[in-house]
């Protein structure tokens, strides 16, 4: 498996810097900190760029599904539309409603964004992606779920801090929804963990790559049910139709971010689309063999590109959901989680138990 050029250069740079440090008696820790910092910045920048791209993609996909064109004006096929929108939104006035709780109003979007970015820390980008912020945590999966579920606190804070009853309703819905959907999501992930025997995302990918394309977990029949549960719960975690009830334009007038404008709104907006991509990355890592190429080991395309392609398949599917399905009602949403997905999760767990024991 080829690692991409960027990583090779990065590693060479790092070796050179370490040598330099040793020669001058500077602790090599400095290099480490530098590398972590660079990696973290790289991942955040990449995340923002991808978010812009995903927004554009969403508008295009929505356009064509609805027999429209989507953005066409800025750049070829409107590709710079979202970049321009971001520029526009930067200039907007930052409105804080009267009676709003200033600190909560401010902390909401920041926390929402931070929680997601933290999640990116353990995504295995490529086989040798140590330069990037990737940390091969041996409890990576629990960490991802834990960190991303913190984001809902941001939603709740902004819902409360906006001094708007619709936002408050949205926040309450969001809290109830995330807590409910974390349970089946964890059940589905436990199935993967049981098959892999590890919580480390890097190990899980490596285990899938060992047997070619058929080794990917999505091709194992006993993991189909967890896969479906993962897709449904992933959609719910990112608050997208049919599970977008915390936002619900037609009922709650955009819910928790009704009162936001300018950069704070942009944070919500970007995070939401980044989150979608993040779910795609997670799905690709857990079920679609991560950075491995479907063509086998002789493939010259870097693994990072494959990971991107796989994650965007998820993104496209989520977008397809959104522009097709109506929204569930609040009680139906809860009913779906507690009456259907959690039992299904246990069934999946039982199936996987049997499979792991006897296959």
């Amino acid at each position: 498996m080829d690692s991409s050029l960027i990583f090779t250069i990065g590693n060479a740079l790092r070796t050179w810097l370490e040598g330099l440090c040793r020669a001058h008696g500077v602790p090599t820790l400095v290099v480490d900190i530098l590398a972590w910092g660079t990696g973290a910045v790289l991942v955040v920048v990449l995340g923002l760029l991808v978010a812009l791209f995903v927004i554009w993609l969403e508008r295009k996909v929505a356009g064509y599904i609805q027999t429209r064109l989507g953005p066409t004006r800025v750049g070829p096929v409107g590709i710079f539309q979202t970049a321009m929108d971001a520029l526009k939104i930067l200039q907007k006035e930052d409105i804080i409603p009267r009676g709003a709780d200033y600190w909560l109003h401010l902390a909401g979007p920041v926390l929402y964004f931070t929680a997601l970015v933290l999640g990116f820390a353990v995504i295995p980008w490529d086989v040798k992606a140590t330069l990037a912020a990737t940390v091969d945590l041996n409890v990576g999966l629990i960490y991802v779920i834990g960190v991303t579920s913190v984001g809902v606190l941001g939603v709740v804070m902004s819902g409360w801090g906006s001094n708007n009853k619709w936002s408050l309703l949205g926040a309450m819905r969001a809290a109830a929804q995330i807590i409910s959907y974390d349970v089946p999501l964890l059940l589905a992930l436990i199935c993967v963990v049981m098959v892999a025997g590890t919580l480390s995302l890097t190990r899980i990918v490596e285990l899938q790559g060992s047997a070619g394309i058929l080794g990917w977990y999505v091709f194992k029949p006993y993991l189909w049910l967890p896969f479906i549960i993962f897709v449904i719960c992933g959609t719910a975690e990112v608050n997208r139709t049919p599970f977008d009830i915390p936002e619900a334009e037609s009922e709650l007038v955009a819910g928790f971010h009704t009162e936001y404008s300018g950069m704070k709104f942009a944070l919500f907006f970007l995070t939401e689309f980044d989150h979608m991509w993040f779910v795609g990355l997670l799905g690709a890592t857990l079920f679609l063999g991560g950075w491995y190429s479907p063509l086998g080991a002789a493939d010259p395309i870097p693994g990072f590109v494959w990971l991107m392609i796989k994650s965007f398949i998820f993104v496209l599917v989520l977008q397809w959901f959104r522009w097709t399905l109506p929204r569930l009602r609040v009680d139906q949403l809860m009913g779906l989680a507690w009456k259907f997905l959690i039992p299904a999760g246990f069934v999946a767990l039982a199936i996987v138990c049997v499979a792991v024991l006897f296959i």
């Binding site: 599904i65 027999t67 064109l69 097709t324 609040v330 009680d331 139906q332 009913g335 009456k339």
Partner: protein, 174 residues
Amino acid sequence: MDAGLDMRTTGTKSDDSILSILRLIVQGIVSIAKSHWVTLVNFWRPTVCERYPHKDKSLDYKPGPGYKGDFALITDKEKGRLRCIACQSCERACPNHCIRVVPAGKGKDRYPAEFYIDVGLCMNCEICVEVCPVDALTMTPDYECSVHDPRDLIRNIKQLTERGMEFDEVSRVR
């Protein structure tokens, strides 16, 4: 899924047997798959957008004759003067009082010295055109009336005559 589905209202009882739940799941999957098929089909259908301010040849839209657009006064090309005899029928007939005609001359030589139509007030009912005894006033397929200043929406006799040069007869559906 039917937790809040309150059947009190419809009188039917919700059935909670395993079989009906399984049927519900299958039915749900099938219906959702069908919905996705519809959006997929429409994804490949031709788009219906008309990129309005961008006029390229295939999209340049012109309404047919008889469209109730901007106004024009028709000039009698043989006599070289406006057909309008400033009888003020249109002014009286207009439900919104958006026409004002200032007549000049006497008898057969009566003509409009001024002819104002406030397009911003007009509701495109075409009553004025219908009541005209000499078919001098017409509505044209011209639909681009936006301006920056609402005062520019008041058409005067010069504008109306100019636009009317393209027309020999009242624009009608054929």
